[in-house]
Symmetry: C2
Subunit: 392 residues, 2 copies
Amino acid sequence: MIQKELISDLKIKWDRMQEAMRQQDVDGCLLTIDVNLYYTTGRVFNGYFYLPATGEPYFFVKRPNGLSGDRVFYIRKPEQLPELFRENRLAMPEKLLLEADELSYTDYMRLQTVFQAKETGNATTLMRQLRQVKTPWEISQFRYSAVKHAETYAYVKGCYRPGITDLEFQSAIEQVMRRNGSMGIFRTYGANMDIYMGSVLAGENAETPSPFDFALGGGGMNLSCPIGANGTLLKEGTTVMVDMAGNYTAYITDMTRVFSIGRLTDLAYHAHQTSLKIQREIEKIARPGTICSELYHLAIEIVEKEGLTSYFMGTKQQAKFIGHGIGIQINELPVLAPRSKKVLEPNMVFALEPKFVIPGVGAVGIENSFLVTDTGLEKLTHFEEDIIDLKG
Amino acid sequence: MIQKELISDLKIKWDRMQEAMRQQDVDGCLLTIDVNLYYTTGRVFNGYFYLPATGEPYFFVKRPNGLSGDRVFYIRKPEQLPELFRENRLAMPEKLLLEADELSYTDYMRLQTVFQAKETGNATTLMRQLRQVKTPWEISQFRYSAVKHAETYAYVKGCYRPGITDLEFQSAIEQVMRRNGSMGIFRTYGANMDIYMGSVLAGENAETPSPFDFALGGGGMNLSCPIGANGTLLKEGTTVMVDMAGNYTAYITDMTRVFSIGRLTDLAYHAHQTSLKIQREIEKIARPGTICSELYHLAIEIVEKEGLTSYFMGTKQQAKFIGHGIGIQINELPVLAPRSKKVLEPNMVFALEPKFVIPGVGAVGIENSFLVTDTGLEKLTHFEEDIIDLKG
């Protein structure tokens, strides 16, 4: 069930969970959502992970066949759990955490009936809180993704041919990604956040507002997935922003670079340099203890001073954040948003993405993934940050 | 808000919903899950679609900015809905349907509090039931996807090079798909059903059981997504099964073809021919009125007669279905399973996938998408059905 090389990493996570559970007087936590199973067991399976506030974890597996190990039990349905608890002299929890923001109403109610706990709390809140601060193994996974991500971006310029569309450009980049080890899937948190492998935004398509809670939009190929590339021609004097996934391990790095077709307007270069300035200023002050909203307000201050407010994070619809935690999902905590009281802690990993949309030109700006160290920030994603001319 | 060319299609769907709601004494249905929004409005947005049992539909939109039309209202949060209902003299529903199997527990409880309905029922059940029977426009979307799907498969042989792995082969196929208009995303119903653009299963990897409820498994690249290609070399005497998505519109066709590297064992060819025989026999008898379990049992009968039971739908783990409805999600209703009492109806669309796994060789079998007509089945996905030798 558990890969040997992961056991010390998983123990760190279980200890943190148990400490938090005891602080909240919680007796047990039952997890079944893929990202939480991967986080706590090192694999996605169909079944449940149960951790009591004190003692060893249990693994209740429906599929796949053939897993074995300590406290691994095969079940067909959750209704078998009470008997398995009895057989293992495992106390039924009086206060139980379930993934309330992720489980369907039906599944949640079914588990509530199975456990008959006096009280149920929200495991999603706990897990998203804990998952913010990464373990050494998780950080090693990010480092690997970051190197592969940068390697891939080095090939982006070679994907350009005069006269191609954003979709052709994106599909060529996807091919490079997959050849370089991208796993393809790209996990997001929350309903209605479908996106395919990231975003390539060209020219005026960058102005199109989307339904999703991503930094920028784009019309997409079809109203069933209205985000990203839409067939826009890459044409002289416009940009194409590449924000493709760093999904080379389960831990996704986030990284955006801007490419131009020839020379852009001065406004576009000015806005891009302002993004780099925001990044520099945030790198200077961010450290453990910094409040996330402070970083947002610092960015807004710079944007206002430079007279670029109406272009910041979109035009027709403007995103109200400049960064977000990353992990197994692309939108983890914390969020760098105007009212976020969250405080940076060592080993948090987040993406910082100050971006502008310039009408008639397209999107400009930067995005990198950063690790919070004991003293500040360490950039994980290293690649040329100026606008790269595809014709140059 | 609504595209003009879709209005007559949407009206068919709204009428069917209202008829079913009145039969169940339901006053209103509130939808917010992407696939149900696309189905009922022709677009994915962030917000709610509300249909009373009698009268016109309402569209409550959070994002994107800029939508307009009859009964389109912008909201920030669902708590604004009661006031909007009052302002529009729209009765608050006493019996309300919410997407209980898809909404998170938290979101469901929030909407229950907002509406204070005397009774809430399950909109997921209703919508999955209704979505089984496709409208003429939906069928036209399938026909388009099917043509593109077959076009793509015609290029699969050209993706082969001696000595490549399943992942290299898959990535080359993905490139063809994207160039041919694939939207990339691939929607499934249910938790923990992540998969990337379909499945390419080579050689012994076909035996690896997966946690997911798909027909076959495969180890995948990483335990965070343990399904499909895992780096297996395409080697002499083995098969590679290509089951990549027909995601060329929002309506996904499902189609599998088997390729061999050179000559296979007689057992493999025998099993493949048995899959084709199952397909032929089912094509002969299936029509409106046929019970889905009958088709399953017919398949099992043939498999037993041919002495292939231990290879059918996997070896170490065997799927207990031979087909499934398709639509905006790849696993819609009905399911062709041993206990399914569902009856085929005209304009249902389903995938039939009798498959075998032969140890030492790999997966063989067939999958096609079928439309139920007034008198029988019409195959939508046309392409060579025998095993295609990649070296031939």
